[in-house]
Amino acid sequence: MSAAAGDMPSAAGAAAPGRRGPSRALGGRARRLAGDLLPPLVVFVVVIVGWELVIGMLGIKSFILPKPSEILAALQANWDVGYSIWPSAQATLIEAVGGFVIGTMAGVAVAFASARWLSARNALLPLAVAAGAIPIIAFAPLMNNWFGVLSPLSKMMMAAVLVFFPVMANVTRGLTQVEPSALELLRSYAATDSEILRKVRVPNALPYFFTALKLATTLALIGAIVGEYFGGVSLVLGRIIVQSASSLKFDATWGAIVMAAIAGIVFYLIVAAVERLVIPWHASVRGDVS
């Protein structure tokens, strides 16, 4: 008797043979996506409706907390006139994305150096941890001074500093935390260091990398907006928040916050979609763990 006959795939594989198998049905995937999206959507709608009703019932003043409908009206009124929230959101997103790219490239470069050379790791990691502990807000006036208060580059650098640390730390971990027996296996094939890097370390680091990137999307937006608080051009979300709040136009402030949140969510979803394309094999992507 063949040994395979009694030796069935594991419970996870057997329970859902079509889900992750080579012939995954498109309909199944769409249904799963809907299943993933529906619960948060319901909660969102309930919160918004509840917010609207509770403000009215308790008679909370608009400058304390506006109703969602008032925020929406302020967004419409200031879309591309007045505070011009739409072009400002675009400008802020460009800063955030620019900083995201710069910080990611720097973080990956340092991670590769520290994974390759133990001496680099010993020299860089303590400094990086120490630098990462500096409150980002302390950098903002310096960045404005170094890269120009009116230049988007000063805001990008704020975002880049925030993005750098999680990317560097995670990618370093992914490149170095490889199973010892995996390294022994590759050594038994007389594989070179660069083959081990390409075949084992880099693929091993990819899930760590994407975890850091998803975290970095929100950090990049925070960095950009905090940079904007400390001066610069006026058509950016950070300036709108400062200016509208100081002139008590809190509905516009909320409008800018909503746009910042939407930008962050869209940015995150784009990175998550790229992750699904690049590492479809990973458990976090397949939905085995959450």
């Binding site: 395979a4 030796d7 198998g21 199973e179 083959e195």
Partner: protein, 279 residues
């Protein structure tokens, strides 16, 4: 005779030093010759250095004394010549590669052309009864199937020597017995020389042509037991009187070495020494 030896260990020792003062003698005065086509098991208590010895043969650990020859060459040369296939207790399959692609990995590193890799991986997966599972990812397979994929990978480039480090230690008893029969079938078909580290006495006796019994602190060979059970071995082998005799012999050899501890009687220590001479 000597030119047939796949593995030749003479006076092999390994001492790990921990700091200035402390040294641990993991292996001492190991002499062992393994002929072409043999199936040799290394068995002993935890810390007896059997896994270290396997890695010394495979040039993953460098000995501090003695000489290791594989196919008549130094072990380092043999590793560069890709004479080794390795199977560990964990399957060490890469989760980003499907089963076929995992089996192809050593062939990629050897620079074999794509068509040859595909054909060879298919052949190896059929050999281990995983022919239908090439497109699956490792996480979709059971533990036994993962380990069979690891064996297919180890055999993919036809290494002269297959080194297996407790490959079935993490499997349940029934799966382990099935895998034992499987490994014997593969061994008989391929003629590969196998060195097999195990904790399990029945497994060692059932599989091997010789069982090398080791003792701990320092790691030494206590006795080498020829397992003269007829082949091919089957489930009946496990019920034959000779099988039980050999299991008992291995067990007693191991137990007597445990008696070597300070608390044990002098008599058992003497008997162990006598057996050591016989072995």
């Amino acid at each position: 005779m000597m030119d047939q030896a796949v593995v030749n260990l003479s006076g092999v020792g390994k001492t790990f030093s921990r700091g200035e003062q402390e040294t641990i003698v993991a292996l001492e005065a190991i002499d062992l010759t393994i002929a072409q086509g043999e199936f040799v098991s290394l068995i002993g208590p935890s810390g007896c250095g059997k896994s270290t010895l396997l890695r010394v043969i495979g040039d993953l650990i460098h000995p501090t004394a003695g000489q290791v020859l594989v196919n008549g060459k130094p072990a380092s040369r043999a590793r560069l010549d890709r004479d080794y296939g390795m199977v560990f207790q964990a399957p060490v399959l890469f989760e980003w590669r499907n089963v076929t692609s995992n089996v192809e990995l050593p062939l990629e590193i050897l620079g074999r052309p794509r068509a040859e890799r595909k054909a060879r991986a298919k052949e190896m997966l059929e050999l281990v009864d995983l022919g239908a599972f090439g497109e699956y990812y490792p996480s979709q397979l059971s533990g036994g199937m993962q380990q069979r994929a690891a064996i297919a990978r180890a055999l993919a480039f036809e290494p002269a020597l297959l080194l297996m480090d407790e490959p079935f230690g993490a499997l349940d008893e029934m799966t382990r017995e099935r895998m034992n029969s499987e490994v014997l079938r593969i061994w008989e078909r391929t003629g590969t020389t196998i060195v097999f580290v195990t904790h399990s006495i029945p497994e060692a006796v059932f599989l091997s042509s010789r069982v090398v019994v080791m003792s701990a602190r320092p790691g030494r060979i206590t006795k080498v037991i020829d397992t003269d059970l007829p082949r091919p071995r089957s489930d009946e082998t496990r019920e034959s009187p000779r099988y039980f005799e050999l299991v008992t012999e291995v067990r007693e050899t191991l137990r007597h070495r445990d008696g070597d501890a300070p608390s044990a009687g002098v008599a058992s220590a003497n008997r162990t020494m006598a057996e050591g001479v016989v072995g």
